[in-house]
């Protein structure tokens, strides 16, 4: 049974009373919510696969296995990789403008699956509780809940879903932008524009499209990376700046300084070897200690 975590409290009595009334956000419960969502979205995704006739039963089973394993062992990257492989081999080639709602929904569903699985794993890393514990909680807890516990769970369910909604909106915007970007680089140019052909560049049109898109995306990334990097450098703390200066200086003169230091150490060791053995009054020989230090 998951016990609710202590709610944030303040030292002031008034604040304590207010904090007691507000149910606390519980990472364990959020994990359970994401587990349910993963199961639901996963089943929906498998159902979309089975809707098409060309997907065989073993492939569907493989997807299910991957989905289950992703919950406990793998990351969402494996899931995405498998979906991409499936698309690469089973999707028919097509050229034209991307503007169909079915594709958009399917992409949303796929990325929602990646999102919930990623969030579930992130929370699992934080709480260190296994998926089986969550399942046990969901089924074992049953209806024997007090009113406070029910309020607590309901609050967490709502906040988790609210939090998820912003993520879904972000994905929707990204999918729209991706569609716009892909449509901006058509395989067949619009009338009036020259067609760069295989003869001119030794490239097939799709290859040419790929290069143009890659260069554009890289330019966008480069500009934002430069802007962020510049702002980061200007926000370094004095300590970071000091470490940077010291390590950069060391980079420049590393070879020379290293030779000097190694030589010094060699001389120091030679001197230490020459220390005569001194016998103490208590009968202990200090040469033992010197040789220990040399090692």
């Amino acid at each position: 049974m998951t016990t609710p975590r202590p709610s944030p409290v303040s030292s002031k009595p008034q604040r304590e009373r207010v904090a007691d009334r507000i149910p606390a956000v519980d990472a364990d419960l959020w994990q359970h919510v994401y587990l349910i969502l993963t199961a639901m979205v996963g089943l929906l995704f498998v159902w979309t696969l089975s809707a098409t006739d060309d997907v065989s039963l073993p492939l569907r089973l493989i997807f299910l296995a991957v989905l289950v394993l992703t919950l406990n062992r793998w990351t969402a990257a494996v899931l995405l990789g498998l979906i991409q492989v499936q698309l690469l081999f089973l999707e028919p080639p097509a050229v034209g403008v991307i503007a169909h709602i079915g594709g958009f929904l399917w992409i949303m569903l796929t990325l929602l699956l990646v999102l919930v699985v990623s969030r579930y794993r992130t929370l699992q890393d934080r709480t260190h509780s296994a998926g089986f514990a969550a399942i046990r909680h969901l089924f074992g807890h049953g209806l024997n809940r007090s009113r406070t516990e029910a309020e607590h769970e309901w609050f967490n369910l709502l906040t988790a879903l609210k939090n998820l909604l912003s993520g879904v909106l972000k994905i929707a915007v990204c999918a729209t932008v991706a569609a716009v970007v892909l449509n901006a680089f058509p395989v067949n140019p619009v009338p009036g524009e020259r067609l760069y052909t295989y003869r001119e560049f030794s490239l097939i049109p799709s290859g040419y499209r790929l290069i143009r898109l890659s260069l554009t995306l890289f330019a966008v990334f480069l500009v934002s990376w430069i802007v962020i990097n510049e702002s980061v450098w200007r926000r370094l703390s004095p300590r970071q700046a000091s470490v940077y200066l010291r390590s950069t200086f060391l980079n420049w003169v590393h070879r020379d300084l290293r030779m000097v230091i190694l030589k010094r150490m060699k001389i120091r060791r030679a001197k230490a070897r020459k220390v005569p053995s001194m016998s103490r009054q208590d009968g202990f020989d200090t040469t033992v200690a010197v040789s220990d230090l040399e090692d």
């Binding site: 975590r5 202590p6 944030p8 303040s10 030292s11 956000v25 990472a27 990351t75 969402a76 990257a77 979906i83 991409q84 698309l87 690469l88 999707e91 097509a94 050229v95 034209g96 594709g103 992409i107 990325l111 990646v114 990623s118 969030r119 794993r121 992130t122 934080r126 906040t159 939090n163 972000k170 990204c174 999918a175 932008v177 991706a178 970007v181 892909l182 799709s206 290859g207 790929l210 898109l213 995306l217 934002s224 962020i228 702002s231 980061v232 926000r235 370094l236 300590r239 970071q240 470490v243 010291r246 390590s247 200086f249 060391l250 980079n251 003169v253 000097v260 230091i261 150490m265 202990f284």
Partner: protein, 570 residues
């Protein structure tokens, strides 16, 4: 960037390439959406990292105190309140953020969590936990380790927010109520040469009867005697002569090894604090001689609350571990230093800032990564201790220097004297001999400056010094010959009194055998020690428990009465 986002990026890039090249529209669309999504998350993460996080303000109050310094008592609980706010930011603290109060080893969390995670955006958050102070010395709370992450776990960054608070931890003490002598009063007579200071005062013992003088309190008139003599007679009582108690506390290396609260020194401090509390409550002044490898420090005997707290403060300062003895550089030491650097100086370990010079050697990847870590640690150490680039490079190549600075960093961070900071097996015979010499000197000096019958309580790791007890015996004999009381309290590392237990059971594990061997060794040393000290008339207690405190206090009572005790082991 985490491994998860790296894999997703690679897959998305490959998917975009293949999708466009082979005209798979959905594949290209899906992959490009992932790529753009990651890019948006990256931008939003950097925004939070560089613009929102610097506005986070954390205030910590320990038992209601927000000041940078203060004092606490060992073995007591403290309530820590942490308040987080965003300065001048209306949107609040963005998730996902994990804030952890970096506690020193001297504090252990009892209830609640010192870590708090934000899953939703909040404007102001308070959280509370209870911690127990383990041992005397000091407790430094350096600040908070902040882990910033996006909800999907694509990006993660760790920062340290400095909120330093340093507390002096005074030793724990028990209020021992019943301190009556354990031996029968009738059988104890003052020895020859023991002189009691007999002065008129307000004690309980009758000193003499004298003629009534106007002004004497009527209740002191002895009516029966007055009737017999036909003149008013007054009872004159003895003055309660205070007995000076001298505490000799050993702070040598062997007594400092172990976790806070488990050190022999902590047991000694508990006994010393309790003895001082009870003695001062009874009106006896208490002084101390604190000695270790650095020398001896004498605290003159003083009474009253002020004297007691002055003594506790001196004992607290003495309990702070000094720079540890030099050790060889070990992988454990490097790992511990790296962990500490990762916790408290994570921003200085960023490869963009902390650059490592390229070298061809060493060739093996394992050694290369080891050299990389060591160079990064050296850079952090150079920054913390303001070292030159030359010394920085020396740290990379010189093991002894690296070990020294690593130990210093760990010791400054309040790490206890255990592996890998100090190796427990490397100290033995020499330390015991040095302790005996130092104790002998301190005892002789104390006897030289003593005024009356005084009580000397020696709190030292006597079991370790048992083989060298002959160094100490002359000083003890001198003290006893001057009619002072000498009591030895030697706590044991296992918190158990060495006893001759029954034979081992048939099926024993290797660990039990080792424990048994250690017990036998302790019993052997203890019996040798008892024989040597009992022969000359000193008292020995081989524990750091309440019984040892009672024994010391009963000896103090007897010293006050001028009676003799059956010297020996309690």
């Amino acid at each position: 960037m985490t491994g998860r986002s790296r894999w997703l990026t690679m897959l998305a890039m490959a998917g975009v390439g293949l999708g466009i090249y082979t005209n798979r529209q959905t594949l290209a669309w899906l992959s490009l959406t992932v790529l753009i999504w990651l890019f948006v998350e990256w931008l939003s993460f950097h925004w939070r990292l560089w613009f929102e996080l610097p506005r986070l303000r954390i205030v910590r109050s320990v038992s209601g105190r927000r000041e940078a310094t203060g004092f606490l008592f060992a073995s007591r609980k403290v309530v820590v309140d942490v308040r987080l706010t965003m300065k001048g930011w209306q949107t609040g603290i963005a998730p996902m953020l994990v804030v952890r109060d970096c506690l020193p080893e001297n504090l252990s969390v009892v209830t609640g969590h010192c870590e708090h995670e934000f899953l939703i955006r909040s404007h102001e958050v308070w959280y509370r936990y209870e911690a127990r102070v383990c041992g005397s010395g000091n407790a430094q709370l350096p600040g908070f380790r902040i882990t910033l992450q996006d909800a999907q776990g694509f990006f993660v960054a760790q920062r340290f927010l400095s909120v330093p608070q340093t507390f002096r931890v005074l030793p724990a003490f028990a209020n021992v109520s019943d301190t009556r002598p354990l031996i029968k009063r009738i059988n104890s007579l003052p020895q020859h040469g023991i002189h009691r200071v007999q002065r008129a005062g307000l004690g309980s013992e009758l000193l003499e009867l004298r003629e009534y003088v106007p002004g004497d309190p009527p209740k002191s008139i002895a009516w029966k005697v007055s009737a017999r003599r036909d003149t008013l007679m007054t009872r004159q009582y003895e003055s309660e002569v205070p007995v000076r108690v001298h505490l000799f506390i050993d702070g040598s290396i062997s007594s400092r090894i172990g976790g806070f609260g488990c050190r022999l020194l902590d047991q000694m401090m508990f006994v010393a604090g309790s003895v001082a509390r009870s003695a001062i409550s009874g009106g006896d002044p208490v002084g101390a001689v604190l000695f270790d490898e650095r020398g001896a420090r004498r605290i003159p005997p003083a009474g009253g609350e002020r004297g007691f707290y002055r003594l506790l403060e001196a004992m607290s300062d003495f309990s702070v571990n000094p720079p540890p003895p030099q050790q060889r550089l070990s992988p454990g030491l490097i790992n511990a230093t790296m962990r500490l650097c990762g916790e408290r100086y994570s921003e200085l370990l960023d490869p963009k800032v902390n650059q490592v010079p390229f070298t061809f050697f060493p060739l093996s990847p394992w050694k290369r990564s080891e050299r990389f870590r060591r160079t990064q640690i050296a850079s952090v150490l150079a920054e913390v201790y303001r070292l030159s680039p030359m010394t920085l490079l020396e740290l990379v190549h010189d093991d002894n220097l690296m070990a020294t600075y690593s130990q210093r960093l760990l010791a400054d961070a309040g790490v206890s004297w255990m592996d890998p900071l100090v190796r427990t097996r490397s100290h033995g015979f020499h330390d015991g001999m040095a302790t005996m010499e130092m104790l002998s000197k301190a005892l002789t000096q104390a006897v030289g400056t003593a005024k009356d019958n005084e009580v000397y309580v020696v709190l030292a790791n006597m079991l370790e010094c048992a083989t060298n007890i002959s160094y100490l015996l002359p000083a003890v004999k001198v003290a006893l010959a001057r009619h002072h009381r000498v009591i030895f309290v030697s706590p044991t590392p296992t918190f158990r009194r060495p006893a001759r237990t029954s034979d081992l059971p048939e099926d024993v594990t290797a660990e039990e055998l080792l424990d048994r061997a250690e017990d036998l060794r302790t019993i052997e040393l203890a019996s040798r020690l008892q024989k040597a000290l009992r022969r000359i008339g000193a008292t020995v207690a081989l524990s750091g428990e309440e019984q040892a405190i009672r024994m010391v206090l009963s000896e103090t009572h007897m010293a006050r009465d001028g009676r003799v005790s059956l010297s020996g082991v309690r």
